[in-house]
Amino acid sequence: MSLKEELEQLRQRALHELKGLKDSSGLAELEVKYLGRKGELARGLKALQDVVAEERPRLGELANQVKREVEEAFATIKQKFGNGTPAPIDVTLPGIPPLRGHLHPVLAVQRELEELFRSMGFMVLDGPELESEFYNFEALNIPAWHPARDTQDTFYVKGGEPKNRWLLRTHTSPVQVRALQDYGAPIRAIVPGRVFRYEATDASHETTFWQMEGLVVDKDISVSHLIATMKALLTGIFKREVEVRLRPGYFPFVEPGFELDIKCLVCGGTGCSVCKHSGWVELLPCGLVHPKVLEYGGVNPKEYSGFAFGLGLSRLAMMRYKIDDIRLLLSGDLRFLEQF
């Protein structure tokens, strides 16, 4: 049988069998038989390759015509059998989960703050985690006799000079002096980073945590500027109006020094366990930069003044996500990290 005859027969057989169908049962099977990848039509088309070159165009056209006719016949019959009731789709199935990574919660908070401060024109600076006694203490007006210098509070590192020992910075404040030396005044900068305290670890104490230092130095910076800026900043962090209060606090590198409290966001100031029934939550230490710190930074305190503040990034992350154990932050526990 020539290919032409075969194709003709194929057409008739297919159309005949289709006519014989009473309902949609068997239709799929038939479709595979004729139109499937290894179906009869495919075989017929493949056979074209073996035909002599001069016959190929003509037979090719025939083959395509047969294919079209059969396909159309299938389409018609599908409509007849009411292919209009498609299989129901379960739209509540979850879909394929895309790859999802996780930013560490402390870094997530850090980023948000960096963006906030950058929008207010602050530089974001970095400083060494292994510091010298000079930058960590002396330049911040923390004298040799100050208890903070004890090995009870500070990790010291072997090496260095006897009079200027190496240590792991206990706060991000040393970068205040480094920034003033590098950039001079006026300056607006924040310094996020890892800090260390010699401290036994428990649910609320860690040897390692994250802070963010802030520094503004310009002409005639005042306490009034400090409070207003802090209020703007806190509104930015908590995304709502926050009430703040300032009270005396002692930090050798600021004068005057303050503790800034915010009205408890949980109870609104009426008193609850979060604010220890005082209505206020201690949030950040701040103050006007001590003239000695400006001097160490090479800035004339008669010409410039400034304010500085410290934010606990670990603490803010814990507040935001209601993390009740600080040790989780450095645990590497996936059940923790994958929640962010």
Binding site: G101, H102, G121, Y156, D218, S224, H225, A228, Y250
Partner: protein, 760 residues
């Protein structure tokens, strides 16, 4: 530190209506942080004086009895187990709803109406400890016998006992800079300034001195002891302290010992000046030597431990022996005991640094050392001595000074005078407090003001002049906190709009985080302390590690991340993991940061590293990491170092770490024109001998300009089989199959010849 409102009131007359909460808030907002307060009367609310009118046995219990108690208006029946219960007795009666503490232990519980062995009890007759009170006449298993009180039944117990104190708990950390606030006197002065009421400085009588004894005081180490006052007090009879003194000390959290010791402790809390009493009979004689300890000298201190003293520790000695560690603790040998009749009473000003170092070395921080560490006012030592003598005579009639008043004051306090320029002050504060108000506040705090117009000459009082107030900036706080920080108007500072410079290295780290997180990696953070690190020869060691096994600073992120990673894997067995950490590592090599303003000293190098740790059985851990690194390089146009460090873990996990030092984001990319002609791809699968690196193959197969890319799409490590796809394209025409075949043939030959590869 506990502060008693009653003691404060001996120095100031407060305005009416103060509560624990208002006192705590006033002090917290203006002076020091008050952590909590305790209102004694408030706690005794519901407890009244009751009169026992009848006692009869309990029908169902031998050790219990039933008492009729009259509380003025009511007559109630209660069950009571007190062995000393009697008809006609006045008792402490707790009504239903009152808070009591069972047997003086555990939490406070609210009293409820209950049936005890079948009999309803309408309240409770209390023992002292059940109300946290002192009772010197207490009997075992007894109740408080208040028959001595004149108060009528029904009178609130707090009123009947005169318990109306409010105890404030001050946060010690908030007063580290204020030597004057370590006693009630100083806080009373603050309150007087805040409330604008008069402040009464106590004026105990001047010490006349006596001729019966001659007290000799020698200060051999004047740099450690600024002032030393002493007197000999005789005619003492050591006994229990009177009730008021005991009660007052208990409320301050101080254990009562005996009348003499209690007086010294009371004066310390009242005025802030630690005192010490030596039993003269147990000293070598009426001679005090203030000197440094001798090498090998030892002392058994009052707590019973034998202390080895270091040569730079200041001690108080008699002619022969050490008798006390100066400013820290006395010695047992000269302790005041029941037989003591004559004492040497010490009131001194020791050097703050010296006391702190000594206390630190001995591991012995006492109420005394904490105060001396702050730098006490030498004038206070004199006042406290007079006050102690006055009180000793009060609690111990007959006690009197029999010696000269020894007062050695080798280093008089230097006066501090400051100039406060008002316009400057206003500018720093952002608020123009009128001159009169500034002067008023400073004067109420004890400063003396002279000078006219805008320039105030301010003389700092002795109790603030030891180290606390030294520069005009210190005065801003003094005025502003009393004035009220809440009254300062808010103003945003004005800045120019120059955009801030950007630290490229930090920006790069954020981009890395974003890309990795976007590609499904989880960021983690690990400690900086490690066991012996990757590069022991470059490791820096902590002087005082908390965990002895982790005494090194990490030289690589691997040092600390690998443990965390192993734990994470164990918790999540079999799952694929993708972890990364960006962090500083430390090396003994010299870095860039200066360690001093002047000079060439540099801190150790502490570069930022990026570590990726992965476990992926299906795709291969290393492939996953290499893929991520390629992603970073391509997306950020950076070139990561060629020599990252690789670590393989058992089970197939891998960690790769790169040093980010000096890596900069590349030039902004420019568009590569969209190709006009189609490409041709060919897949090749080769099996190469072990040891052949893909890097070499990749370089070698690029034999033609027509090759646009070479990309691996499958690797079968066991057989070292690599499948890759070659993409060919010409910029100016559609490639013909033959052209590509020609190149492919060349590549095949090259692979066979050069790499001994089998093409599959």
């Amino acid at each position: 530190m506990k502060i008693s409102y009653n003691i404060l009131k001996t120095f100031v007359t407060p305005p009416a209506g103060n509560t624990g909460r208002s006192l705590a808030e006033t002090l917290t907002m203006r002076t020091v942080e008050v952590e909590s307060y305790h209102d004694q009367a408030g706690r005794l609310a519901g407890v009244v004086v009751g009169l026992v009118t009848a006692v009869r046995p309990h029908p169902n219990a031998d050790k219990l009895r039933l008492a009729q108690v009259g509380t003025g208006k009511h007559k109630l029946e209660v069950v009571c187990g007190g062995v000393n219960l009697q008809e006609g007795m006045k008792v402490a009666f707790a009504n239903i709803g009152t808070k009591v503490r069972w047997h003086g232990q555990g939490d406070w519980v609210t009293l409820e109406q209950v049936s005890i062995r079948g009999v309803e009890s309408a309240g409770m007759i209390c023992a002292a400890e059940e109300l946290a009170l002192m009772d010197s006449a207490a009997v075992e298993h007894g109740i408080m016998d208040l028959s001595y009180l004149t108060a009528k039944p029904g009178t609130p117990l707090a009123e009947a006992l005169g318990l109306h104190d409010i105890i404030l708990e001050v946060d010690n950390k908030s007063v580290t800079h204020r030597p004057d606030l370590w006693g009630h006197l100083g806080l009373a002065r603050e309150l007087a300034a805040i409330w604008q009421v008069p402040f009464t400085l106590p004026e105990p009588p001047t010490l006349a001195g006596g001729a019966e004894a001659r007290l000799k005081v020698t200060i051999e180490a004047p740099e450690h002891c600024q002032r030393y006052l002493g007197v000999v007090v005789a005619g003492l009879k050591v006994a229990e302290s009177p009730a008021w003194l005991k009660q007052q000390l208990v409320s301050l959290g101080v254990r009562s010992i005996n009348n003499v010791v209690d007086v010294t402790n009371y004066v310390m809390h009242e005025l802030g000046q630690p005192l010490h009493a030596f039993d003269l009979a147990r000293l070598a004689g009426p001679e005090i030597v203030v000197r440094l300890a001798k090498r090998g000298e030892k002392l058994v201190t009052l707590d019973g431990s034998e202390r080895k003293l270091e040569a730079d520790s200041l001690v108080i000695a008699d002619a022969k022996h050490v008798q006390a560690v100066a400013g820290v603790m006395g010695g047992q040998a000269s302790e005041v005991g029941s037989t003591t009749t004559t004492i040497v009473l010490e009131s001194a000003t020791f050097d703050p640094v010296s006391v702190r170092l000594t206390a630190g070395k001995l591991g012995l921080r006492t109420d005394a050392s904490m105060r001396f560490e702050k730098g006490l006012d030498p004038a206070l030592a004199e006042l406290a001595l007079r006050r102690a003598v006055q009180l000793l005579a009060e609690v111990c009639p007959g006690a009197h000074v029999v010696s000269n008043v020894a007062d050695t004051y080798p280093r008089p306090l230097e006066l501090v005078k400051l100039n406060l320029n008002l316009p400057w002050f206003w500018k720093r504060l952002g608020c123009e407090i009128p001159r009169a108000e500034v002067v008023g506040i400073l004067e109420r705090l004890g400063f003396k003001i002279t000078g006219k117009g805008d320039d105030l000459e301010v003389k700092v009082p002795s109790w603030r002049a030891t180290r606390d107030i030294t520069i005009p900036e210190d005065l801003i706080e003094e005025v502003a906190r009393i004035y009220g920080y809440d009254k300062i108007p808010l103003a945003m500072p004005k800045f120019d709009i120059t955009p801030p410079p950007v630290d490229e290295a930090q920006a790069l780290r954020w981009k890395i985080r974003d890309l990795l997180v976007g590609a499904g990696w989880t960021e983690t953070l690990s400690y900086s302390f490690s066991r012996s690190g990757q590069k022991p020869e470059q490791s820096l060691e902590l002087v005082n590690p908390i965990d002895q096994t982790r005494r090194w600073l990490r030289t690589s992120v691997y040092d600390t991340l690998h443990e965390q990673f192993k734990t994470a894997r164990r918790a999540d067995e079999g799952m694929s993991l993708k972890f990364f950490e960006l962090g500083r590592v430390f090396s003994s090599q010299v870095g860039d940061w200066p360690s001093q303003v002047t000079g060439q000293d540099r801190l150790p190098a502490q570069p930022w590293h990026l570590a990726l740790a992965a476990f992926d059985q299906r795709r291969g851990s290393l492939s996953v990491i290499r893929g991520a690194l390629k992603l970073l390089e391509k997306s950020l146009s950076i070139k990561l170092p060629d020599n990252p460090s690789y670590h393989k873990f058992g089970g197939g996990a891998v960690l790769v770490e790169v040093d980010l030092t000096g890596i900069k984001s590349g030039e902004a990319r420019t568009l590569i024109p969209i190709p006009k002609y189609p490409s041709v791809t060919r897949d090749v699968s080769v099996v190469v001998p072990e040891g052949t690196s893909w890097e070499n193959i990749e370089a070698a197969v690029k034999v033609s300009k027509l090759i646009e890319s070479v990309e691996v799409f499958d690797v079968y490590e066991a057989k070292r089989s690599i499948a890759y796809r070659l993409t060919f394209r010409a910029p100016d025409r559609t490639l013909k199959s033959e052209e590509v075949d020609e190149v492919m043939a060349k590549i095949t030959k090259l692979l066979q010849d050069k790499f001994n590869a089998t093409i599959r």
